[in-house]
């Protein structure tokens, strides 16, 4: 098909310095730095705090590692480095809570208690990964507090706990369960009041 019109000058090729290469590099957004390494720095900055946050809710290493992994794999592609560290942390924690709730529901068939999260949100974010259980322990009678300290904080066996407290093994077994249930009940009551 001939070019339109009759007064056409001979078709000029664009000069050679504007030839468009067939294999151009992929385009980038104007002003966007290479993001390849950005997620790495976000990860390095946030992995330990997020792990502490998750560990304080799982109390065991295998679950803490799984939940931390799932959280980063889910959240990181949605984050960008020009979001503030505080926003990144908040989003990671929101994601982690949702992952924790899924695990808990699948394993134990119940929802995570709300009092837990309400207490979190009342605290400044930087204190949330400090595991402070003194409010739990302080509200308990002395023998309940002792059994929990021996078992959970020091990792004593039931036999060692019984010996340290001067009670029978059967008694120590029952005592630790009662102490946990009392602590759970008073924690829930704190929030309602």
């Amino acid at each position: 098909m001939p070019p339109k019109g009759n007064c056409v000058t001979p078709a000029r090729r664009p000069s050679s310095n504007v030839a468009v290469p067939e294999t151009s590099p992929p385009l980038r957004v104007v002003g966007a730095p290479d993001r390849r390494n950005d997620w790495e720095s976000v990860y390095q900055e946030h992995v330990a705090p997020l792990y502490r946050f998750v560990y304080s809710r799982t109390g065991n290493t295998p679950d803490a590692e799984d939940v931390t992994s799932t959280t980063f794999l889910r959240a990181l592609p949605r984050l960008r480095s020009d979001v503030s560290p505080g926003e990144i942390q908040a989003y990671l924690r929101t994601t982690a809570r949702s992952v924790l709730a899924d695990v808990w529901r699948q394993r134990h068939g119940t929802v995570l208690m709300e009092f837990d999260d309400q207490r979190d949100s009342a605290q400044p974010a930087e204190q949330q990964d400090e595991v402070d259980v003194s409010p739990i322990l302080d509200s308990l009678p002395a023998n309940y507090r002792s059994v929990l300290e021996f078992r959970f904080l020091r990792g004593y066996s039931i036999r060692e706990t019984a010996a340290a407290m001067g009670v029978s093994i059967a008694n120590a077994k029952v005592l630790q369960l009662r102490a946990l249930r009392r602590a759970a009940a008073s924690g829930a009551r704190d929030v309602q009041s």
Partner: protein, 226 residues
Amino acid sequence: MSKADRRLTRFVEALIANRRPPRSPADDDSSAMQVAARLRAAHPGGSTPSPAFVDKLARQLREAADHEPTWTEAGIRRRRFLVGGLATIAASVAAGVGVERIREVLTDPTSGSGTIQPYKSTWAAVALLDEVTTGKIKSFSAGGVQGVVFTLKGEIRALSAVCTHQGCTLVPQPDKSSLACPCHPMSFNLNGDPNPGGDYRLNPLPAIQTRVNAGHVEVLVPAHWD
């Protein structure tokens, strides 16, 4: 011991042995179990991730990032999706996800639409009439505007010659009735619209007002400010 007592005991034993607690209904002991996890997490020396775990997760994330375009070079691809997906954006805002996405939509370039309307303007002669007969494209630079002027469907018209992608100066291709970008494999037709073919969603080129005065083609460009 009741059945519930045995379940709670097994949960506690798993925590103290640093194992994953067994699957079992929590029933009324859900919050007692959570208190147990909190207490166990407070024991000295437990809450730091192991270096082996940190390295392994970094590797997993690196592999995921290689398959996930959002962290690499697909900004433009993503932009097209986002601009077309306001409902998606609204939904992700509601879910608390939206920080970066909103920002991206707000900064989406709008430079390429409409006609250049300088705040203070003047007519500048940029071509002779016979330089813009059908089939020719004349480049000009006037009043800070890089443009091209040509005849399309019997009308003399002018367009900005600055690519709406990254600002490279477009090169006239009279034989193709198009303006080619020297930076990337993209071009615009003489209506100012990007030609199809690239995987890029670009704004059209701004138009420039023209008139013919005493055998010259003039364009409306910014006047000097002094």
